[in-house]
């Protein structure tokens, strides 16, 4: 068929199957009620908007985390994978991951050579070559960070 296309390398590196799958069927996509913490993350530049809900036990371990909202595939997959990965982790561990993820997205940390705990989150490394899309990947993490810090609203531009 004339419109069967060979997708170029950069595109397939960025939009990996795992990411597309999380975009199509996002995990933990629901309101958590009641929730100990929640925050709204908004990128006014592109309209991406996510709300993240977190419950934490007395040992500062995340017992449940969910999200709702809409945006591009990168931001939605990032929120979905983030919520899957941090469940059961201590907030200090999550804080470390947040910084590592942030550095990877900005190209300051190479997930293949620098020590890190990113695991499956490495698939978001492709955004470092697309400055316009870095904020898409990091928006859910900034929102989670804000929720854990007790802020109710954040905005990235």
């Amino acid at each position: 068929m004339w419109h069967m296309h060979i997708v170029n390398d950069k595109t397939s590196q960025l939009y990996q199957q795992v990411m597309l799958d999380h975009n199509k069927t996002p995990r933990n996509y629901r309101v958590l009620d009641p929730a100990d913490h929640e925050a709204l993350g908004h990128n006014p530049l592109c309209g991406d908007k996510y709300k993240i809900f977190v419950n934490i036990d007395e040992h500062d371990v995340v017992t449940d985390v969910t999200f709702i909202g809409d945006g591009c595939a990168i931001s939605k997959a990032s929120a979905s994978m983030m919520t899957s990965i941090i469940k059961g982790k201590h907030v200090d561990e999550i804080d470390k991951l947040f910084h590592q993820f942030h550095d990877m997205a900005q190209g300051k940390l190479d997930p293949d050579t620098d020590p890190n705990d990113l695991g499956r989150l490495k698939i978001f490394a492709g955004v470092r070559n697309l400055p316009a899309r870095v904020k898409c990947a990091t928006l859910p993490w900034h929102t989670l960070h804000a929720a854990l810090q007790g802020k109710e609203k954040i905005s990235t531009e």
Binding site: H5, V7, K10, D70
Partner: protein
């Protein structure tokens, strides 16, 4: 070389079929693909003659204008004033006095808001704008309304992207003081009936500003025929440089408006007790202007004139029809903005794929489009959208670029489905 200084007055010397060769950017590749530049509504590319006018100024007669007695300053002044005359002729203003150089359309609208608006609009007065305005024709008026406790009235738009003229006419009251409307929508491509809208406003004695940023590169604009009181446009949307634009204002109105920026060039004499302002248009041009930009914008106007608006309009309408047809053929595509009168802009959404993902995939295939709200958030909200993908064509655009867009969209669909 398509245009040189001795031949600029000759019309139709440049053929639209080959004009693309005058734009060096099309020799480059993007991500290893030929560049398909379909973001002309954001900023159009620049041809050699415009670039040459820029380097000529800087390499042969760079100096300040309107004050030196030396030859270079005289040449710079002559070139800038010749450009003003070219731009006057382009939009058919009565006099050069009515053409004020600004940094762009936004700056021109702000000039009118600061000078006319803050002088003649007060508490309880009403300003009419439309739902499809660019933020640059919303924010200044919102700021004025907040300062003066004036009221903003909004012309509604249909689902197709057409302004409701009956509703517009019914917005007028004895408190209406100003109308500011976009000529061609940057998001939808809709060409608004600005002549008719001006006639309606003038029945109530209300002055009209037309935001022409998206008009001048696509179609002949005749400010006297439109009858508008102000017309604003930008150099970089008509193959000229960034950072330059013009405000056309009817002399009668400009005369009764105070200057809003003070400084050199806009005065006749200064003492610590009293300032005597300069004549039009210099009253509104404080400080050393963007001289090379002004010269370049004039050169861009000459370039457009040398091809001819009829030729440009015909070709762009063909491209619009082709793009609309090919995009409509893709399953899941919905075109946003289907007014009967449109410039060469096609906004669309595609089921299941966010415009920003489309934009990235297209970019990696060499196709430059704009994605997002296009600085028209109230319009997007009215249409129930967060973002669209927008392909906008110019006189040098080719069907092959639209084909490249369509192929890239099929790739995006393959990835996401």
């Amino acid at each position: 070389m398509s245009v040189n200084t001795s031949s600029v007055k000759e019309k139709s010397r440049i053929r639209i079929e080959t004009c693309r060769d005058d734009f060096p950017v099309f020799r480059r590749e993007v991500h290893g693909k030929p560049l398909a530049f379909l973001d002309n509504a954001a900023s159009s590319q620049m041809p050699y003659p415009v670039m040459r006018s820029y380097t000529d100024y800087h390499s042969r007669y760079h100096s300040n204008v309107h004050r030196g007695v030396h030859l270079l300053s005289q040449e710079a002044t002559d070139a800038m004033e010749a450009s003003r005359e070219t731009l006057r002729a382009l939009i058919n203003a009565r006099s050069k006095k009515e053409i004020i150089f600004t940094s762009g359309t936004t700056d021109a609208i702000n000039l009118v808001m600061q000078s006319y608006g803050r002088t003649y609009i007060g508490k309880g007065d009403e300003i009419i704008i439309s739902t499809m305005e660019h933020h640059s024709n919303i924010v200044p008026w919102r700021m004025l309304c907040d300062e003066k406790k004036a009221v903003l009235k909004i012309i509604p738009v249909s689902d197709d992207g057409v302004l409701d003229l009956d509703a517009y006419a019914s917005l007028f009251s004895e408190r209406t003081r100003f109308v500011s409307i976009v000529h061609v929508s940057n998001t939808l491509g809709t060409i608004n009936p600005v002549k008719k809208m001006t006639e309606i406003a003038h029945r109530y004695g209300v002055p009209v500003l037309v935001d022409g940023a998206q008009a001048v590169s696509h179609m002949e604009v005749n400010v006297q025929e439109i009858g508008c009181d102000f017309f604003a446009t930008s150099g970089h949307k008509m193959y000229g440089p960034t950072g330059i634009g013009i405000l056309y204002g009817r002399e009668e109105l400009l005369l009764k408006m105070p200057p809003w920026r003070g400084g050199g060039d806009m005065i006749l004499s200064v003492s610590f007790d009293e300032v005597l302002f300069n004549d039009l248009p210099y009253k509104f041009e404080a400080g050393t202007p963007n001289i090379s930009g002004a010269i370049g914008m004039g050169k861009a106007a000459e370039y457009i004139t040398a091809i001819g608006y009829d030729t440009i309009y015909r070709k762009e309408q063909e491209l619009l029809a082709y793009a609309t047809d090919r995009l409509s053929g893709i399953d899941g595509v919905r075109i946003i903005g289907t007014a009967p009168e449109k410039s060469s802009v096609v906004s669309f959404v595609l089921d299941g794929i966010h415009p920003h993902d489309i934009g990235t995939i297209l970019d990696l295939e060499g196709v430059a489009v704009r994605t997002g709200h296009h600085c028209t958030q109230p319009l997007m909200e009215r249409l129930g959208l967060v973002a669209t993908t927008r392909a906008s064509m110019a006189m040098y655009s080719r069907k092959e670029e639209i084909d490249q867009l369509i192929d890239a969209l099929h790739k995006a669909i393959d990835i996401f489905r």
